[in-house]
């Protein structure tokens, strides 16, 4: 049963628009993540957020930014989307940041036209 909730499930937008994806976890975890999954199913970590410490994958473009109000929420904002941003964005959480089980949401599919 899913305990990491993502909205929206699906979003179509035009190049240059701003998009936000929301993520909430009800597992009581203290670390949350955003992953990007491309059309070949490759999963790449974008951000992790633990106790207000943000770790950013250096390959993530600056138009992407995470936003957290508390440890149960980690949203993803994309300012001025580009075609290569089309992907599935997966939110996950875990008890501790390293070596532990990740619990994923069902993903938010973004299509940029």
């Amino acid at each position: 049963e899913t305990a990491v909730f993502q909205t929206p499930n699906y979003h179509v937008t035009q190049v240059g628009n701003e998009v936000s994806f929301n993520c909430k976890q009800t597992l009581g975890h203290d670390t949350m993540y955003w992953y990007k999954q491309d059309s070949k199913k490759l999963l790449k970590i974008m951000f992790s957020y633990n106790n207000k410490q943000l770790i950013v994958n250096e390959t993530v473009p600056r138009r992407f930014s995470p936003q957290s109000s508390d440890k149960a929420h980690l949203n993803l904002r994309i300012k001025s989307v580009e075609p290569e941003d089309s992907a599935v964005y997966l939110c996950a959480s875990s008890y501790q940041p390293s070596g532990n089980t990740l619990y994923f949401g069902e993903g938010s599919r973004l299509i940029v036209v």
């Binding site: 990491v4 070949k40 490759l42 992790s48 089980t101 990740l102």
Partner: protein, 109 residues
Amino acid sequence: SQWGEENLQALSIQEGEDVTMNCSYKTYTTVVQWYRQKSGKGPAQLILIRSNEREKRSGRLRATLDTSSQSSSLSITGTLATDTAVYFCATNYAQGLTFGLGTRVSVFP
């Protein structure tokens, strides 16, 4: 990259057959995890094997870990159509996990 190029695979098998998938990694890890991702869903962990374990079983699943060759395998015995999914191995990252390229397994009745 953390991963060996041989990770990307697609396997088609008949229900009831056994299947084994492999992954190799380049840097030290304390755990290897295997995840399954069904169509339209997020990945879900199947099994976690630690660096001091050589084998771990869970139901029809068997994972192995060889730290000397930095490789792991996942076997599924008596596959079912519901085992159709993409399977990933994952190792420790600075925070979170880094995932291999995945193996797409299609099980036909």
